[in-house]
């Protein structure tokens, strides 16, 4: 087959013709070239056919699955909770570490055997204990028949 000068331009115009109207000069070149070059004529037919099939295979309407909206909203809520947890987790971890540190310090301080002996007061101390005025309840002192 004889290749005619301008095939590249023809191919470009064949593609552009799908999107815009060619100028009269371009259209004239296109038609003249198409009538002279059999290869380009075939190219144009095939290109058209391929694009027609592609357009025909497009989905124009899609069936929606039920509850799509609800699922998105539910996921959005979960996402918000996760994000807020992620936001606050460093602060929570810090607070927990601080709490542990405070408890550990308090536990150490409150142990008397860990304190220095020199810091303990000397002598002995006793608490005044007043005998209770109320009678004590002793089971053994009760008569047998009451028990």
């Amino acid at each position: 087959m004889i290749r005619v000068f301008g095939c590249r331009r023809f191919h470009r115009l064949a593609s552009e013709r799908e999107d815009r109207q060619l100028t009269s000069r371009e259209a004239k070149f296109f038609e003249t070239h198409r009538s002279r070059c059999a290869d380009c004529g075939l190219y144009d037919t095939q290109a058209h056919q391929a694009l027609d099939v592609l357009r025909g295979a497009a989905f124009t309407e899609v069936e929606l699955t039920p509850m799509f909206d609800e699922r998105v909203i539910r996921k959005f809520r979960a996402q918000k909770v996760k994000e807020s947890l992620r936001y606050w987790s460093p602060a929570l971890a810090g607070a927990m570490i601080a709490c542990v540190a405070i408890f550990a310090t308090l536990a150490m301080v409150s142990r008397p055997d860990q304190l220095k002996q020199a810091n303990l007061p000397g002598g002995s101390a006793s608490r005044f204990h007043e005998k209770s005025a109320f009678p004590s309840f002793e089971l053994s002192a009760m008569p047998r028949f009451v028990r």
């Binding site: 552009e16 095939q46 056919q49 592609l54 497009a58 799509f68 998105v72």
Partner: protein, 185 residues
Amino acid sequence: MIDARFISGVVADPVAQERQWVSRCRQGDEIALGYLIDRHRSRLIRTATNLLRDRHEAEDVAQESFLKAFREIAKLRDDRAFSGYLYRICVRLCMDRLRLKRAELVEFDSAQPHEGGKVENRVVIEKLLAQLPAELRTTLVLREMEQLSYEEVAEVMRVPIGTVRSRLHTARERFRKLWIEAVGE
């Protein structure tokens, strides 16, 4: 501030209406969230289906797009831009999936020319599109199936119009060759 006319349902302009819903959504209103999903889901799922050729995957992508858009809605400067913003996210997510899919590309058996039924055509188209790189495939689908203009494709893909033009030319040429191989002409 929410327009009183809007609450009473008098606002007819869909752009103004959407702006109001977006601003309500930014404040965490779930009714607004539902409205925006309802308004955009069909288009989003349809585009994702055309790009990915898989309805279930398309729904996943649409869902992911909504979640991403709502998460970042505070960053959106212009409420009117929400629709384009959402669409862009969806196309980007589809492109990411296409790039991953391309690694596990299925070879097309060109030795058996197909008959040309509508369902069969869809299957063939799916296999042919799978052989195009993600950028070319997306450009071709947005232009030929979604009927977007050059400007819209350029905006969605964040590339200059010249790039869209050259990509489209290359994509059409490659698709034509693949199609000829497939039909065995």
